[in-house]
């Protein structure tokens, strides 16, 4: 997030895109609810009628996968009605003319037709977003899990830049992270092209620094992204896979294909707190690890705040902390790193990463600090881009509509979209073990509009088969006003009806994020 969670309360206008915030980030949504009570305007872009959408000043219930035409049209209205921040655009951005031309390709009426929303609503949303100073954009997987995920995000940053909505409280462009430590995992360099602290593998000086610190030469060959690793299973260029706390055969799209790849592996090492599905079938070695309540360390939340994680109880049996396991394995591989001490590991990272150098365990004992925090006298950073964008000038991008990887057609006439619900979490290995949560939402369901249900002669709660070109699963119909005609929605949490059996190979053309959000399906009775 460019901004902080607490600031949301001061919002005058919130543009929530593809985020079912009250279910996926419930406590952050409380700040939004508070802002709404205070009279803040709410604009929601979502194919589903979410809790927020029902209460929004404008709900743009777009056809899934049409975010760019919509954002282009909004930019277009803002520019053509002269509502943009000319001073900001002139002095602090680049690429305005190209961006403006690209946006002009999407007049409101054309976008309204493509997105299947009301033209007047697009205008209204554009005017409201531009009118308020404290206007922030909030988005999540709904926007990134598409073939055009990166461009979707750029279409949002375009809006923030042309209005100058950046660099002060309760504004900016704010991705809400799904898992607790997505932010930290990226910060720490678990990325094929970034070393810790976002220092590029391609940068020779950065490589030298880490090589010197680690006493080993860091390879200059860029690594593989997860999707490329999975591809590597098929052409056998990847022979060994170390999987920490993840369950790829449940969580990755196009499951059948993933199975074929895993069968070819020579070595799979799994480190987890439960025996997950991937490990059950494919692991050669399984290390029993510890959960968050059993170890010391830090997590970094969506607002870049590094906070202390502390041990409350002992791990069961012989389970060891993840850090201990990696240190033990390092030693077995011939490198003795000494005692596995979380605070020392943090200090090593912070010393090598300038944006984090000012953070240490003593400073975050009472409360967390938001990076960038370059030195120990720095208080941390509540919002980014103060005064000017970090890179000097904010880049505006000319963008155009990119069609989804798979669109509904005569054979598969419905678009399936997937997501999280309030009561469960991802593959639900943790929440489905809670009796109370299982009870509130015991089994998989398919939200379908009353119109589609009538046409297909499907009754509420009826058992149905959802079929895509990759496979089929059984689930239960939930006739709902939340989805629009032509679109069905399913939660991603249930192993027995794993939606990833249905989803395809579509992935973001730039960063490889899988297109979980949509694929074409049909429904029939079992």
């Amino acid at each position: 997030m460019t901004n902080s969670i607490a600031e949301i309360e001061q919002s005058e206008c919130m543009l929530v895109v593809g985020s079912n915030t009250t279910e996926a980030h419930p406590v952050l949504a409380l700040r939004m609810k508070k802002a709404m009570r205070g009279g803040a305007k709410l604009l929601v872009v979502d194919p589903r009628k979410t809790w927020l959408a029902e209460r929004a000043d404008v709900h743009l219930q777009i056809k899934p996968g049409t975010d760019i035409p919509l954002m282009n049209a909004i930019a277009n209205v803002i520019i053509s009605e002269d509502l943009h921040n000319k001073q900001y655009v002139e002095s602090l951005t680049e690429g305005f003319d190209e961006m403006k031309l690209a946006a002009a390709e999407w007049p409101v009426e054309r976008a309204a037709a493509t997105c299947e929303v009301d033209a007047g609503d697009i205008r209204k949303a554009a005017r409201l977003y531009a009118a308020y100073k404290h206007a922030g954009i909030y988005y999540t997987l709904g926007i990134t899990e598409h073939v055009c995920g990166v461009d979707n995000v750029r279409s949002l940053s375009n809006l923030a830049l042309i209005t100058g909505h950046l660099g002060y409280e309760a504004t900016g462009v704010n991705p809400l992270r799904g898992q607790n430590n997505v932010q930290g995992c990226n910060d720490m360099g678990n990325n094929p092209v970034y070393l810790p602290g976002y220092q590029e593998v391609a940068d020779g000086a950065a490589r030298e620094k880490f090589s010197a610190a680690w006493g080993q030469q860091v390879s200059e060959i860029p690594g593989r992204r997860l999707d490329q690793m999975l591809d590597g299973l098929h052409d056998e260029s990847i022979k060994a896979f170390f999987v920490m706390g993840e369950d790829p055969i449940v969580s990755e799209p196009n499951v059948e294909h993933v199975h074929v790849g895993f069968k070819k592996l020579e070595l799979l090492i799994s480190q987890d707190i439960f025996l997950n599905e991937t490990a059950k079938i494919y692991a050669d070695v399984v290390f029993p690890a510890t959960c968050f309540a059993e170890k010391e360390g830090t997590f970094t939340n969506s607002e870049r705040r590094v906070q202390r994680v502390r041990k409350a109880v002992d791990a069961p049996g012989e389970a060891r902390t993840d850090l201990q396991i990696i240190f033990d394995l390092a030693k077995e591989l011939g490198h003795d790193w000494g005692k596995a001490q979380p605070s020392k590991v943090w200090d090593e990272f912070a010393r090598l990463s300038p944006n984090f150098s000012g953070i240490n365990y003593a400073r975050i004992e009472e409360s967390g600090i938001q990076w960038p925090c370059p030195d120990v006298s720095h208080p941390g950073t509540k919002f980014l881009h103060e005064g000017a964008p970090i890179r000097g000038k904010g880049r505006l991008y000319p963008l155009d509509h990119i069609k989804p990887w798979e669109e509904a057609d005569d054979d598969y006439p419905l678009t399936l979209s997937t997501g999280r619900t309030l009561y469960h979490y991802n593959a639900a290995t943790q929440t489905l073990r809670n009796e109370g949560h299982r009870e509130k939402q015991p089994k998989s369901f398919v939200e379908i509009s009353a119109e589609d249900a009538r046409e297909l002669n499907i009754a509420d709660k009826e058992e149905i088969v959802v079929q895509s070109r990759r496979g089929s699963i059984v689930s239960w119909a939930k006739v709902s006003e939340k989805v629009r005609k032509g679109v069905i929605w399913m939660p991603m949490h249930y192993a027995e009806a794993s939606v990833n059996i249905l989803t395809g190979d579509g992935k973001d053309l730039k960063v490889g994020t899988p297109e979980y959000k949509l694929c074409a399906v049909r429904l029939h009775k079992p």
Partner: protein, 326 residues
């Protein structure tokens, strides 16, 4: 912001406009008892626990609901005040008789004990103002009053989101966590402790307190004024902790028996040695870039830093990524 100066117990204090007498007292280090007050909710002034004497007012005023203004003269102790406070204490103690037979509910999270309820309505107001779920209601009056899910339905069938915020704000044990009651062992003399840490579900990063009895987690709670969450939690953060002490947890390393194809328990030394030998062998035969490492965005910063370091500094590959790069 404009400030006002007032006098409390003979001393002067400056406060911001819009602050209450309760805030002013807090600034001076005087902590008044409160019951119906939660500073995340709109001031209510229903229970009268926080009464103070205000010069010029005909009777004591509730500090939580009285806004400060310049020149106020306030006293927080005195004989008359003590008498009134004692009476209020008694009133709060009194049990709503009819409420003894109120609802029990099928949900596994939230329980209600009317005998403990002081009818301060914090739960109802929390649900209305903060959650905006309107899932609780105050029924009846006086000694017949009690709290129930709207229209007497089960929490499972109302707009309740099972956040447990009503439990969190309840100043007594009237609303309680059923899960905690189930695992708490009164007989045990295992140490009770509270550990401040961070929720492991979503990226909001709510600060939580894990309450444990020996090695068992018995509750998760949050404190007002702490962390990005200010004491709020969602259903996952507050209640989804059964997995921690779950019997299916892995407790020993496993290796696959090459003959039977089954995973079998083994020693750490054996598991580590098999893993390391195979990794080095594959590196030698196919090169460092034939190994891939997938970090978990559920693990700590330190865990995943160490993993990428192992991949880069020991194996010699940049093949490190995580499942949710979003």
């Amino acid at each position: 912001m404009p400030t006002n100066t007032l006098t409390i117990n003979g001393e002067q204090v400056a406060v911001l406009q819009g602050e209450s007498l309760l805030d002013a007292c807090a600034k001076m280090g005087i902590s008044l008892l409160t019951a119906c007050h939660d500073n995340r909710l709109e001031a209510y002034g229903g229970c009268r626990t926080c009464l103070v004497d205000l010069d010029g007012a005909p009777r004591p005023v509730p500090a939580c609901k009285t806004l400060t203004s310049a020149g106020m003269v306030v006293s927080t102790s005195g004989e008359q005040l003590e008498t009134v406070r004692a009476t209020i204490d008694e009133m709060l103690e009194c049990i709503p008789a009819a409420a003894l037979e109120t609802w029990t509910d099928a949900n596994r999270f939230i329980g209600y004990d009317p005998q403990q309820c002081i009818m301060c309505d914090r739960c109802v107001r929390y649900c209305d103002e903060i959650m905006q779920c309107n899932a609780l209601e105050h029924v009846g009056q006086g000694v017949d009053a009690f709290i129930q899910p709207t229209q007497g339905d089960s929490f499972l069938d109302t707009s309740c989101e099972l956040c447990g915020g009503c439990i969190g704000t309840c100043p007594t044990d009237a609303l309680y966590s059923k899960q905690s009651l189930k695992v708490f062992n009164e007989q045990s003399d295992a140490v009770l402790s509270s550990t401040r840490t961070v929720c492991n579900y979503c990226g909001v990063g709510c600060v939580i307190d894990i309450e444990s009895q020996g090695n068992n987690v018995i509750d998760i709670d949050a404190q007002t004024g702490v962390g990005p969450n200010d004491g709020h939690l969602c259903s996952k953060g507050r209640f989804a902790w059964q997995f921690i002490n779950h019997p299916q947890r892995l407790t020993k390393p496993l290796v696959r028996n090459t003959e039977s194809g089954e995973l079998e328990e083994t020693s750490w030394q054996n598991a580590l040695s098999i893993a390391a030998t195979k990794m080095l062998d594959i590196k030698q035969r196919h090169g460092a870039d034939s190994l891939a490492f997938l970090a978990s965005s559920r693990c700590t910063n330190e865990d995943v830093y160490a993993l990428q370091k192992l991949a880069r500094a020991i194996i010699g590959t940049n093949n490190v990524h995580s499942c949710a790069a979003t």
